[in-house]
Symmetry: C2
Subunit: 336 residues, 2 copies
């Protein structure tokens, strides 16, 4: 930067201001500086800038898995909104492990993010402590935690499945099974899957169904393959079953393909519904009934919230904890 300053005949301070933009630098001076920058091929060093200004200019985002387009869309939404502020985002993958989540947060905090956005509302004690110590805005997404760390942008996973149950009941299905959802062991558990299963169980009770059946599918991420195996088990264990709700569209798809293979008509022999409105569900044959949540909207809302929270933190007027609920809807298609 000193080289640029010398070449443009100004001080480094003026170069810095010119590069930040918007500050008071005479137009002519700015042009001269920009020319010098180009000629020298100078690239601003944000590392030094961050140290000096105490603003790292980025936010950490943690999601469970790379391969889930729902989470990717959320990240996209966050990124879209925050890029308007010039804030970058750094994504980490927890592999559905809370221990891994904590490790990632420890690592990321070393780079001094201005905020952290996590997925889900269940974390290790260590994670909570780290985040509180860090004293930066935190947003939990994709869930409605009972005891939030900071802000929340989410929805009730249980409620979505209760709605789906109501819809299936309305359609005349009575013997409805559930595929997926673990029972909450220590680590590597799928909290949102468990919530959805809970919604299923609550609906079974509330709607006065006499029978129910859950086929758990083991550790997340729940994949296409799991769905194929689970649907066979479901039908074997409960031959009367009329419909199955899957914890996500991927196992729903796997289940449908397995049904084709065995010549079980969908929805004739067995109706199948999923969660997440993945692209695959719109083009699968039959198309798949699913729960649609605007994942991008979760991201955009979280992004805006984070933007406000960061501004609040800078101006010593911290934003009080916000809670944003994202609506969901049931999309009925051919598979039910």
């Amino acid at each position: 930067m000193a080289d640029v300053a010398r070449r443009a005949g100004v001080s480094t301070m003026t170069v810095s201001r010119a590069l930040k933009g918007g500050r008071s630098v005479k137009e002519e001076t700015r042009t001269r500086i920009m020319r010098a920058v180009d000629e020298l091929g100078y690239v601003l060093d944000l590392t030094a800038g961050a140290l000096s200004s105490k603003r790292s200019g980025f936010v950490s985002v943690l999601i469970p898995s790379v391969n889930n387009s729902n989470f990717s869309e959320t990240v996209h939404g966050i990124s879209d909104v925050l890029s308007e502020d010039g804030t970058q985002i750094l994504v980490g993958y927890t592999d559905y492990s809370k221990a891994q989540e904590q490790r990632l947060i420890e690592t990321m905090l070393r780079r001094r993010p201005e905020g952290v956005i996590v997925t889900g509302g269940v974390h290790t004690e260590g994670t909570r402590e780290l985040l509180e110590q860090a004293a930066i805005p935190v947003i939990e997404t994709w869930d409605m935690p009972a005891d939030p760390i900071g802000h929340v942008v989410g929805f009730s996973n249980a409620a979505t499945i209760e709605d789906m149950m109501a819809r299936l009941l309305f359609r005349g299905y009575r013997k409805i099974g559930f595929i997926g959802g673990d029972d909450g062991r220590a680590n590597g558990s799928d909290d949102r899957g468990r919530e959805r299963r809970l919604g299923y169980e609550r609906a079974v009770a509330a709607l006065g169904l006499e029978t129910s059946h859950v086929v758990p599918v083991g550790d997340p991420p729940v994949s296409i393959e799991h769905g194929g195996r689970a649907v066979v088990r479901l039908v074997e264990e409960w031959p009367d079953v009329e419909a199955a709700i899957c914890v996500s569209d991927l196992p729903a798809f796997g289940a449908i393909m397995e049904c084709h293979r065995r010549e079980w008509a969908v929805p004739g022999r067995l109706a199948i519904a999923g969660f997440g409105d993945f692209e695959i569900s719109r083009f699968c044959w039959p198309t798949i009934t699913t729960v649609s949540v605007s994942c991008t909207e979760i991201g955009r809302k979280a992004g805006h919230l984070m933007s406000r929270a960061i501004k609040g933190a800078r101006s010593e007027k911290p934003l009080p904890p916000q809670s944003v609920v994202i609506p969901h809807s049931i999309i009925e298609r051919e598979s039910t």
Copy 2:
């Protein structure tokens, strides 16, 4: 750090050494320091460390799209290997746009990555200049560029489709179409798709087929939906067609679902093959014949190469440009 040092009764230098690990610090001193760190809830500031040591400790990785599990696997491979060195990675998405790629690189270089890994071998002039100016190791992946910027870890996309053509021919198919692959307009183009299409055309010529037909599908990312529409066009435009090779498994899947809908037997009426060995292809009905490339291996090889290149750069013994070829194979399944 000064607080920690005071509490442990040592200098900041000793604290720094203790935290880096492996350096010469007496075991007892280290314990004392660690205790102070815990008590104070101190978190090392890597921003400052990077500035001082001139090692940012991270590598930039650019891939076209979030929603392509092939690229995600590559990133995973890179991350696995580099995390052994304590190097983190920062991922950027180009949305298949070379202009966006350049913008991302500009932004990322401001944070002084120790290396850059890009996807593909075609870039803007500006991108090449930026990377050369930066004087850091560069790896191009997923392709075999004619004029590499630095190192290469890839394979010939054209050759994979030539192989697929040979296999289909061996199986008795003669009238084989191709779905996907643009013709190389300025921006937003799918270079790997174009290469694959080129492979198709070369095979048609080499194998002495009398007829051929390409249905392009527009801008990437090529999706499931594209495949459904394209297969209909292909059959309408060339009713004799016996087989179709798709630029990726996603359109292949879309094509198969559309065939189900129209009761065109796969492979009876039309054989369909894809590229990429996505999970969907293993569990779709019928299972999809595809080209398998070990995406994780691309990542791991790129990671190792980057690790060596960075060490080379630090010790002033730059690693001469390497070129690693990743093998591919054809996986024949039910769809052909």
